[in-house]
Amino acid sequence: MVYTERNTWSTLIATAVIIPGYIIVVLQQAAGGPLTSVDWFPIMLWAIGISIAATIILSILWGIFAGLRDPKGATATDIRDRDIDRMGARVEHAFLVIAGLGVIALCAVGADVFWIANAMFLGFAISSFVGSIARIIAYRRGLV
């Protein structure tokens, strides 16, 4: 597995754990009450921080392990990696646009700031997740 594919897997795993984790914590904080009463901002900051840290730590640990097996190729990248990354970025972009439009719609109807912030947050998270899936499929099935 090449360097950028490992990093993509790290992002995917971190996102797959953090998104449900964030939703569970917010629901627990609401304790059956209205979600808009939850102090969501610190939870979101923690989720973002943990997600970034987990991705970096996972990439480093995986990189060390890969480096032991193949010291020369552990961090090698080439044109195929860049092509796959560009394709994944296009997929991410599409989901970010959808999230952005959702935020505009929520603002238009005067939704609570909770829903506006969380729509954007989930837009970022889902775009990252789907973009990573698209990249993994390209690595595994091909990009022609």
Partner: protein, 71 residues
């Protein structure tokens, strides 16, 4: 899900004939071994520049290495 390319290639057989490993050829053309495997298996269409580099590594023309079906 992924549209297969119509371009086929004979890199694998040329490589076997020349006794070159995937790692050697990948190193010569400046790509990872995984990328060379993907090209050999038709899972990645190389750029024109990369196709020229691969052909040059075997000292053949692009047409000798890559094939595209007639209509």
């Amino acid at each position: 899900m992924v549209k297969p390319t119509l371009v086929t290639n004979s890199i694998r057989s040329r490589r076997d004939e020349a006794g070159i490993t995937q790692a050697d050829l990948a190193g010569r053309i400046g790509v990872t071994r995984q990328t060379l495997i993907a090209i050999e298996q038709g899972r990645y269409s190389p750029t024109l520049e990369l196709a020229f580099q691969i052909a040059r590594a075997f000292e053949v023309g692009i047409d000798d290495l890559f094939q595209y079906p007639e209509d």
